[in-house]
Symmetry: C2
Subunit: 203 residues, 2 copies
Amino acid sequence: MEYIPSKLLTTAVDNFSKLPGIGRKTALRLVLDLLKRDTSTVNALAESLVNLKKNIKTCRVCGNLSDEETCSICANPRRDRATVCVVENIRDVIAIEQTGTYKGTYHILGGLISPIDGIGPGDLNIPQLSDRIGDGGNVNELIFALSANMEGDTTCFYLSRLFSDKVNKISQIARGVAFGGDLEYTDEVTLARSLETRTVYNA
Amino acid sequence: MEYIPSKLLTTAVDNFSKLPGIGRKTALRLVLDLLKRDTSTVNALAESLVNLKKNIKTCRVCGNLSDEETCSICANPRRDRATVCVVENIRDVIAIEQTGTYKGTYHILGGLISPIDGIGPGDLNIPQLSDRIGDGGNVNELIFALSANMEGDTTCFYLSRLFSDKVNKISQIARGVAFGGDLEYTDEVTLARSLETRTVYNA
């Protein structure tokens, strides 16, 4: 182990380096920087973490993080509850909200079906989605916005089979060449897919 | 600003993103990861930061961080107190201790002289170094291990003038081609310096 001149410092570095992507060198840099700040700044950081962990709730409708029983999106009367966008996690919700164009609601699965990692449908937030859809009529469109990989496709396939006769429309976000993306640097699978699912202008 | 579904989450992200090199996206990733951990893990992190800030001391001899009034290096009777290595900050102490070869003590300046940033000798931990050196005899060798830039050189020059008649030997760590470093990729200044200060085998 490296030399660190203080047990207090070592403990803080140990705890910090448990975070993802934070090695011991980075942890040390962060902790030494914190030491230069006011006590109030350090206490505010510590307090906000404890508070967050203690008081954060999961929206009982969609599984989003929330300060209340129901999250701000599900509670918003201007959001279309008949359109549900199915995503893997909260970071995906944030990414889609960032676009400012989606007016429906979300459903957060909390993961993707992955037999290799031992994650089956039972480990995901699917019963709540079944409850929302009910016997049909509650949800008009289910939009899958899942990762473009094996796990995402498996989950799409499983859920679309499960709900196909209870939902009017099941869709998936487009895969294709990104804006600003060069055709020559786009991988073959994406390019083939974007040709196949091309947008027709004059049909 | 981006959409974040909870005020508690926003506060934690705000506080985290004040750390150096942590943007809002990284802060969000770290905080969401913390939410998946046990309450005890989160509390331990928070507590260790508060504790550290509250109880850490600065060694009254050398300026190192310490749990006691005197740091573990200055308090160690097997360390040579007549040899003092002058460094900019605590990370430098850790780097040198890591080599496992240095048996002297340290003096941490807490910065470098930098007229451009308005940092003069008065802003650094120099009076304590004067106290250690006294009227001569206490310190045999002063080793400068400062950054190889303008600020480092200025500080070296200033300190060596200040203490030249009170210390037997004043030295500076070698600048040169790093181990495993390719000559062709070494910059000219370093290469010129490493030629000039070459080690003589048979003199």
